[in-house]
Amino acid sequence: MKVRDLSKHYQMGEVIVKALKDATFEINEGEFVVILGPSGSGKSTLLNILGGMDKPTKGQIYMREEEITKYDDKQLTKYRRDKIGFVFQFYNLMANLTAIENVELATEICKNPLNIDEVLENVGLGNRKNHFPSQMSGGEQQRVAIARAVAKNPLLLLCDEPTGALDYKTGISILSLLSKINKDYKKTVMVITHNAPIAKMADRVLKMRSGEIIDDYMNEKPIDPEGIEW
């Protein structure tokens, strides 16, 4: 995946907020990428554009030689449907659907989903699949959200601060899960965080500040999430 001169400007009355400034980088398939940066640095903006949820002001994104940034709304919807799995900070499950139904909600509309039971088993929720979100803890809900994103069998799994609302231990377990998915299913995973230590588990780290990518490096030896402390 290649990103060239990607920019996003917001017009706020008189002022223009430059949330993203000429971001340029490349990601290889199967990499575990961590985007690091302080609040307001444009991480979410970048991720949303990569996920086809928002359009850039300028710049290009190429995914397997396809230029995503040329897509119209219809194509973007299809792109989100088939290529992207999204995990949100606040899980955002449908309150009146059970765990398994939440996953099915996503897989119903995509081309070649994975086996749902298997995925739920893999995220450790095999025995809770018929529970409603309100009957589950935050960590469990986030697992459902991950299962929902993974079961679509996307090329790219995008996670916007998946541990943001969770305690340390649960956060670690979620990161382990993501790492496991990265390895088992060979998915490209991008995780946003403002916790520097998490970067240690990444193959590649993108550091951001005020809308710019200020650093882009590969970890020689990514450590196991269990070994992270913050």
Binding site: N48, R81, A106, S134
Partner: protein, 783 residues
């Protein structure tokens, strides 16, 4: 099942109350739609079928006397298929109670079986003994409990004839049994019809081989007007009094009128209900979309497109629409059968043509679906505007603006904290409050309209009998008599006031419009009428010229000062032109009035009275009951009691209308309050955390609702008045002029009922506050 649909089903389950409330509105709307539309068609078909079967006459020619041969001659001519002579006279009937005046119309029937207006035998058999047998019309037989085999005694030309009741019959001509245009309601125990053989009638009325009425069937109804004109000329030599077309025929006119009114309501009422349901749905769905902002964002992020998501919400309203319309239309269909039967019993039609017209069921579902889809589209249009990236960000809280009232310190400082909250709330969520207020306003105006209608009938009646007509008794002679009769009557009863009157039907023509009405001649300074003109001043009858009742003037398009042509039914009389001197208010019936001397001079041949008006404390009925030459003694009290009965009948329909308005009001207020509680869970939870009790929160809601109810009622008043005036416009006809002042009582009743409906709706939301788990509400911010 599709997971999105599954979500929908659970959504519906969790908002059962609102769902059912809206569905009730739709059910009512389509129930009315189906029931009335089918009843209209069934009623029309039944009537047509009945007319067809009995050869209903196209024209009634009333003459002085026409020989049988001349009637036969008509038949070969042009569009006339059949002409049939008969004898028709109104005569008194001798009954047990000698004070009671009962009149019957004696009508002769020919021997042949292929008759015009042929009779339908309900009980017994046809006439066999031509000299002694009679048939009695069903309504009259029922009202007076006359059975086959009994004897009835009509007095013809002063002579009593004892006739045997051979059969009870129904006639297409008297489906609605009224003596004439002047009687406002049927009085089946006071006026009836008996059928006798042609022979008997000719002998007893002394007409030899003649008849005094000819019934005519035409090839096609299109020829009616032409045939009428031609017959008027051709039969002039037999003294044509009046030619009545099928359309003008009293009973037929009453039925058509009823069918038309039914038809009017069959489309307007459902439209109101569907419109309200659609508005509630649209508001509800737009709220839902707003609350589901994040979920919609997630769906979009997952790759659902706008149409799929929009359709998800449209399905919600469509589901309500289809369910409601199916239930409504099925119950409506069942009801239409009963309604048709009820009408047919009321109208005395001895047959029934009830069919189910699936067209209306189909249309009901279709119309309801269209309304609901539109409501869904309108309410759900917000889906399109939600951007997935943005919806994930928490909504920026609304800037807490100060409301105007807060700036007026003097007032603001005196308001208690909870009132401050209430007032702020109202101003902050204006749209919601406007919606609720309009809902209450609509409920109020519907109830108000119903209450007024109820009141209006009584008022019309009281103004007509009492303020307009001021006589205790209205006495009609069986034949015109000279002035001496007034003195004779004064000898018989102690009269406080007595005046002679003349009353005859004339055809009044203005431009191309004409109408047959009774012109009444009384003293110009009569004590028995309160003539009030359109400017509201009481007037005396002018010494010359004629005065019209308001709706006669309206019907003919006549203004004060116009000249009209008056055509007499007395054969050989020239038409008279006369100036309309004034137009007076009359709420029941249509008449013209003249000074009695001017009237006899201009329009009549002699100075004979047709009756007297009388005020007396005496027992007039008993004393004048069997006086020769008096055909009827009608007292104001009689009329009042008839009207009371009529009112009792309408209590039923008024009740149904009030229930309907209640359904509307309940649905609106219940839904709005529920929506508001759902949206404000966070707010209420914060209050609970701050230490407010459930009671205090409930009190805040009650205060809000009180303000809205008061505002709703205030706004509902002008809306209701507009509704009342337009209903009056639509439903005023030749018989009623509905233009009555709105009484305070209507305001009070409608307000009280509206408050009850609102209170009921609020009570059912009480539970929701009780169940409000504030910890969960605060937590659920997250998911």
């Amino acid at each position: 099942m599709n997971k999105l649909n599954l979500r929908l089903m659970r959504l519906i389950k969790s908002s059962k109350g609102q769902f059912l409330a809206i569905m009730a509105v739709i059910i009512v709307g389509l129930l009315v739609y189906t029931a009335l539309n089918m009843a209209v068609v069934n009623l029309k078909n039944t009537v047509d079928y009945y007319y067809d079967l009995t050869n209903f006459a196209d024209l009634y020619v009333q003459v002085v006397k026409i020989p049988a041969k001349s009637i036969k001659d008509l038949e070969s001519k042009q569009s006339i298929v059949k002409a049939q002579g008969r004898i028709v006279y109104d005569v008194p009937l001798k009954v047990e109670d000698e004070d009671e005046k009962v009149n019957v119309r004696v009508i002769s029937v020919p021997d042949s079986s292929e008759n015009i207006n042929s009779l339908y035998i309900v009980d017994g058999e046809a006439i066999s003994n031509k000299a002694k047998d009679a048939l009695v019309i069903e309504q009259f037989a029922k009202a007076r409990n006359i059975k086959v085999g009994e004897t009835i005694i009509p007095q013809i030309g002063g002579k009593q004839y004892e006739l045997t009741v051979r059969g009870i019959v129904a006639s297409p001509e008297f489906v609605y049994l009224m003596e004439d245009e002047q009687s406002l309601l049927p009085q089946p125990d006071k006026f009836g019809v008996i059928y006798v053989s042609d022979e008997f009638a000719r002998q007893s009325f002394g007409l030899n081989d003649g008849h005094n009425e000819v019934l005519i069937n035409l090839k096609s109804e299109k020829d009616i007007d032409k045939a009428k004109e031609r017959l008027e000329e051709e039969l002039d030599k037999f003294g044509v009094k009046r030619i009545i077309t099928k359309e003008e025929q009293l009973s037929n006119r009453m039925i058509s009128e009823e069918i038309n009114q039914l038809k009017n309501s069959s489309n307007t009422v459902p439209l109101i209900f569907l419109g309200v349901a659609a508005i509630i749905l649209a508001v509800m769905i737009s709220r839902m979309v707003r609350n589901d902002r994040t979920s919609i964002g997630v769906l979009k992020a997952l790759g659902y497109n706008n149409i799929q998501i929009l359709f998800h919400y449209i399905k919600y309203s469509l589901f309500i629409g289809i369910m409601g319309s199916i239930i409504g239309t099925f119950t409506g269909m069942i009801l239409s059968g009963y309604m048709t039967k009820m009408y047919i019993r009321f109208f005395n039609i001895p047959m029934l043509q009830v069919n189910f017209y699936y067209k209306y069921m189909f249309l009901a579902v279709l119309i309801s679906s269209i309304f609901c889809i539109l409501a869904g589209l309108w309410g759900g249009r917000g889906v399109l505007k939600i951007l997935p990236a943005e919806s994930m960000r928490p909504e920026t809280p609304k800037v807490g603006k100060r409301i105007l009232l807060e700036r007026i310190n003097i007032i603001w400082q005196r308001i208690t904290f909870s009132w401050k909250m209430v007032i702020r709330n109202i101003f902050r969520s204006k749209k919601r409050f406007i919606f609720i207020i309009l809902g209450i306003a609509l409920t109020f105006s519907m109830t108000f309209l119903t209450m007024h209608q109820w009141d209006a009938f009584a008022t019309i009646f009281n103004t007509h009998y009492g303020e307009f007509q001021r006589m205790d008794y209205n006495i009609n002679f069986s034949k015109p008599l000279n002035d001496n009769v007034v003195k004779d009557i004064q000898h018989l009863v102690e009269a406080e006031e007595i005046e002679a009157k003349v009353e005859y039907p004339f055809e009044i023509i203005y431009g191309w419009k004409s109408e047959v009405v009774n012109i009444i001649g009384v003293k110009s300074k009569t004590k028995f009428y309160g003539f009030i003109n359109q400017e509201g001043t009481e007037i005396e009858l002018p010494k010359e010229g004629i005065v019209f009742s308001e709706n006669l003037a309206k019907f003919l398009g006549v203004k004060k000062g116009d000249r009209v042509k008056i055509k007499s039914f007395i054969p050989e009389r020239e038409d008279v032109y006369m100036e309309v001197k004034d137009i007076i208010k009359q709420s029941l019936g249509m008449n013209a009035y003249m000074d009695i001397d001017y009237m006899t001079d201009k329009l009549l041949d002699n100075e004979l009275a047709t009756g007297v008006y009388l005020n007396s404390k005496d027992d007039v009925k008993e004393k004048l009951g069997n006086v020769k030459n008096i055909s009827s003694v009608q007292s104001l009290d009689d009329l009042k009691s008839i009207f009371q009965q009529f009112l009792q009948l309408s209590i039923f329909s008024i009740g149904i209308l009030v229930i309907f308005s209640g359904v509307l009001g309940f649905a609106i207020v219940y839904n709005a309050t529920t929506m508001s509680i759902n949206e404000r869970r966070l707010e209420f939870s914060s209050l609970r955390v701050m230490g407010f009790s459930k009671k205090e929160i409930y009190r805040i809601i009650t205060k809000e609702n009180t303000i809205m109810t008061v505002l709703g009622i205030l706004i509902g008043m002008p809306i209701g008045r507009i509704m009342i005036r337009s209903v009056e416009e639509v439903f005023s006809n030749e018989l009623y002029t509905l233009h009555t002042p709105i009484s305070l009582k209507s305001y009070i009743w409608a307000s009280a009922l509206t408050i009850i409906f609102v209170a009921l709706a609020q009570l059912s939301t009480l539970r929701k506050i009780n169940k409000l788990d504030f910890m969960e509400a605060l937590k659920s911010r997250i998911s």
